[in-house]
């Protein structure tokens, strides 16, 4: 019989080892899955993890890595702060959409005027948009005690409908020959979020993601405010004893994660994507939840997890293309990663002991 014994102090060794173990287990289980689908498992794992970095055309894929990882990291850094406090913003996808909509609206309203102030104004608009969209579940929770999990999630669907309305209506490109979708901001110099160093994929969103990681680290591990956020998540009564006002905490955490998600949306619409369309959002807001946990809610862990997740996205696309793996198999593969991580997480707080089979 397997017996779990709670550790008196969480194990530091396992806290750092479990993410690696989870990646390893995912490779094994994923390999089995791919083998069951009739593909060479070693080949599939290589296409997903190795080729984008070191294979043919790696230069292109490496730049894609930063492009994909930046929004994940930016959103996850904000989400992790709230998750640490036990405030579950599941609606980053919606805040991402609204941030993009607000930023793009500012740009399209100014079109075709050129000004150095336009891009900063879009950044502010994107940030505010995400912040305000996050304030809706915050206000409802504080005033009526609703679950921020449900409200923030449902607001994703509201945001998606607003996005579709904007893409087909007010933001539609008047010179777009009737096709849905806005003007392409990549062709509007003042509004464009360009690649800063050619060939790296690094745009302003990558810079923002790095700043967010450093900022989140300082907040959570060096500042008393972050300490109180952590206390609130681990022992709510102790947090109140330490002077934390629960309502203020809800507003702070949902506001912060909403603002960062909004920023991510803005950088995406003004940069790599370029355009408001009804299918603008690609699930970054949801995947960021996985990234936050894969990174153990630690800013530096999130940085690594974001890169790893981006790699599975790019590698997954390649595997679909080159090996003909179904998209669902890739999603299962990504799901396994979170599953194994949460499973192995147990080892941080518990020891496993095998005992003889007696009742």
């Amino acid at each position: 019989m397997i017996v779990l014994i709670k550790r008196p102090t969480p194990s530091r060794f396992w806290a750092y080892t479990t993410p690696l173990l989870a990646v390893l287990a995912t490779m094994i289980a994923g390999g089995l899955l791919f083998a069951a689908l009739g593909k060479n498992p070693v080949e599939a794992i290589k296409v997903i993890f190795w080729d984008p970095l070191f294979g043919a055309n790696a230069a292109y894929f490496r730049s894609q890595l930063l492009v994909k990882a930046a929004p994940l990291i930016l959103i996850a850094a904000g989400l992790a702060v709230g998750f640490r406090a036990g405030i579950w913003n599941i609606g980053a996808e919606g805040q991402y959409i609204i941030g993009a909509l607000c930023g793009a609206s500012v740009a399209l309203a100014a079109y075709p005027a050129e000004s150095a102030w336009l891009f900063p104004a879009m950044v502010v608009a994107g940030l505010l948009g995400g912040f305000l969209w996050g304030m809706i579940p915050a206000a409802l929770r504080v005033v009526f005690g609703t679950s921020e999990i449900l409200v923030s999630l449902m607001l994703v669907y509201v945001a998606q409908n607003l996005l579709a309305y904007a893409a087909f209506g007010p933001l539609k490109n008047p010179q777009g020959y009737g096709f849905p979708g806005s003007r392409n901001l990549q062709q509007y110099p003042s509004a464009h979020n360009p690649e800063l160093i050619a060939g790296t994929g690094a745009h302003w969103g990558v810079v923002a993601a790095l700043i967010a990681v450093i900022g989140a680290y300082v907040l959570m591990h060096r500042h008393i405010a972050g300490f109180r956020i952590r206390v609130a998540g681990e022992a709510p009564r102790a947090a109140r004893f330490a002077g934390v006002v629960p309502a203020r905490l809800v507003v702070t955490c949902l506001g912060l994660s909403g603002a960062l998600a909004g920023l991510a949306g803005l950088f995406e619409v003004s940069g790599p994507n370029g355009q408001i369309t009804d299918s603008f959002n690609a699930g970054y807001g949801f995947t960021a939840i996985i990234v936050a946990f894969l990174g153990r809610l630690h800013p530096l862990g999130i940085l690594l997890a974001g890169l790893l997740m981006a790699l599975t996205y790019i590698g997954g696309d390649m595997a679909q293309l080159m090996l003909g793996l179904p998209a669902a198999a890739i999603q299962v593969f990504q799901g396994m990663l979170l599953f194994f991580l949460l499973g192995f997480d147990l080892l941080t707080n518990y020891r496993i002991r095998m005992t003889g089979a007696h009742a």
């Binding site: 500042h223 405010a225 300490f227 681990e234 102790a238």
Partner: protein, 511 residues
């Protein structure tokens, strides 16, 4: 000899990694005997009774029950053999009725109507009136304990184990309980009684086994010893009595005026018109059975919950609207009863736990940034000054024993030199020597001119250190009385008596 004994234990041993909880423990209990197990926290009493009740398997040694070998693999086997246990912490569902709760603990409960009848029978036979239809959430702690006792008596046990049964009872309720236990003993049921209240053991028990460091260090007949002799046998030496000399009362530092607040939870009590005045240098004792508003009162005074304007005045300033940290800045500190999860964060280190309350009065942060070095040295200062037994300040709070964590929590607040300190159950679960040290620290604080409010269920403790005594009962606070000359009888009446049981006692007396 062995043939006449109900329970006979020889050479019992149980080791956990790093500690031998019980080593070569042996004693015997005769039918109808009330046998006390005495010892400090960590002496091995709980491990011993857990082995008798089948919760823990001994490594070595033998137990015999009524002459038969007795090796319970689980509590169910122990119950089947005639051993029942009333735990210190009740396992009752507040939203269910008394009868439903009793039925939940039975292997094959009879129909509810028969069960209710049997509960009534037993409760009248043993002088423990209890209405089977009442919701447990509405019962007092004493009444809840009666549910647990009746649950045991329904099994018709040969041996009844009681773990710290009187810690939640008023003096009158203790009388009723003892009455019941004596009646059970007279009918031949043996009772294994665990308590650290020495006067009670002297009043109730026929014999006592004393444990220290997992070993039996002696046995005695409690009636023939003084409480002090018993305490010294437990500790294995003399310990200092607290010194309350050298204090004079100054100006009021904290005033509470007609403070009323709604309950925090469904079955929690409301605070009703609580008023008190605490003067500099005073130790004010607030007695009462837990669940009568102690937690609510501390949370409100500490600033966790705002109250109506004008209800809390600290050193002449209105603070009813201020939060805990603003009050700390003004000199009001507190230590809640629940150590893990309220007074300290279980998974965080002792160093990190100083940041919970210490950042206002100690330079542990600079412009909001944490100075880990300062926090660590403050934690080490607490560990040294209050003799906290721990490998170091890096250890998680949950790894400490209850008593050691309690010393840490009290130390953290006392060392911040408060003007007003409010503590709830400061010595709960703490061994005798450490409890004396904590009490002395509170008295020393008062001697330096601070006002101290001690909320406690331990009346002996309050009599020992408090200048004035109030009782908290159903959210109401009685007028203060000087502790000098106050009798236990008077206190008991202040604490709400025996919950409608006085007439039963009167009837018994008239008989």
């Amino acid at each position: 000899m062995t043939g006449t004994m109900l329970l006979d234990i020889v050479g019992l041993r149980k080791a956990y990694p790093g500690v031998v909880a019980n080593d070569d423990v042996g004693f015997a209990v005769a039918p109808g005997e009330v046998h006390a197990l005495l010892g400090e926290n960590g002496a091995g009493k709980s491990t011993l009774v857990k082995m008798i009740y089948g919760l823990v398997k001994p490594d070595a040694g033998t137990m015999r029950l009524m002459g038969q070998p007795y090796e319970p693999a689980e509590p169910r086997a122990a119950r089947a053999a005639g051993v029942a246990m009333v735990f210190q912490h009740f396992s009752l569902f507040e939203a269910l009725s008394v009868a439903e709760n009793v039925a939940l603990g039975m292997e094959s409960p009879p129909p509810m109507r028969d069960l209710a009848r049997r509960i009534r029978e037993i409760s009248t036979t043993y002088g423990l009136p209890l209405d089977p239809a009442r919701t447990v959430g509405d019962l007092s702690a004493g009444e809840r304990q009666r549910v647990e006792i009746i649950r045991c008596l329904l099994q018709d046990p040969k041996l009844l184990i009681m773990d710290e049964p009187t810690s939640v009872l008023t003096p009158q309720e203790v009388e009723i309980l003892f009455h019941t236990l004596r009646k059970l003993a007279a009918e031949g049921t043996a009772i294994l009684y665990i308590s650290h209240k020495l006067e009670e053991i002297r009043a109730l028990c026929d014999s006592a086994t004393i444990l220290r460091g997992g070993k039996v260090v002696g046995s005695c007949i409690p009636r023939e010893k003084t409480a002090r002799e018993l305490a010294e046998m437990m500790v294995g030496g003399e310990f200092a009595a607290t010194d309350r000399a050298g204090r004079s009362l100054g100006a009021p530092v904290l005033e509470v005026r007609a403070l009323s607040l709604a309950p925090m939870s469904q079955f929690g009590p409301a605070l009703r018109e609580v008023s008190l005045t605490l003067r500099a240098g005073e130790v004010l004792g607030i007695g009462g059975v837990a669940g009568n508003g102690q937690e609510e009162l501390l949370a409100t005074l500490a600033g966790e919950r705002p109250s109506a304007p004008g209800t809390v005045i600290l050193k002449g300033a209105e603070v009813a609207h201020l939060g805990p940290n603003e009050r700390r800045a003004m000199g009001l500190l507190s230590a809640p009863e629940e150590r893990l999860g309220h007074a300290a964060v279980p998974a965080m280190s002792l160093t990190e736990n100083t940041l919970l309350t210490g950042t206002i009065r100690r330079p542990l942060i600079r412009q909001g940034f944490i100075d880990m070095g300062a926090a660590k040295s403050f934690a080490e200062e607490i560990i040294t000054a209050f003799d906290v037994r721990t490998p170091g300040a890096h250890v998680a709070a949950r790894a400490l024993s209850g008593g050691n964590l309690q010393k840490y929590v009290i130390g953290r607040e006392v060392l911040q030199a408060p003007d007003v300190l409010i503590v709830n159950q400061p010595t709960w679960g703490v061994d005798a020597a450490a409890a004396a040290a904590i009490r002395q620290a509170l008295l020393d604080l008062a001697a330096k001119g601070a006002g101290v409010i001690v909320i406690s269920q331990d009346l002996d403790e309050l009599m020992e250190i408090a200048d004035n005594f109030c009782a908290l009962y159903e959210g109401r606070l009685s007028a203060p009385r000087p502790t000098e000359g106050l009798t236990l009888e008077e206190i008991g009446l202040m604490l709400g008596g025996a919950h409608g049981m006085t007439d039963v006692l009167a009837k018994e007396a008239a008989r």
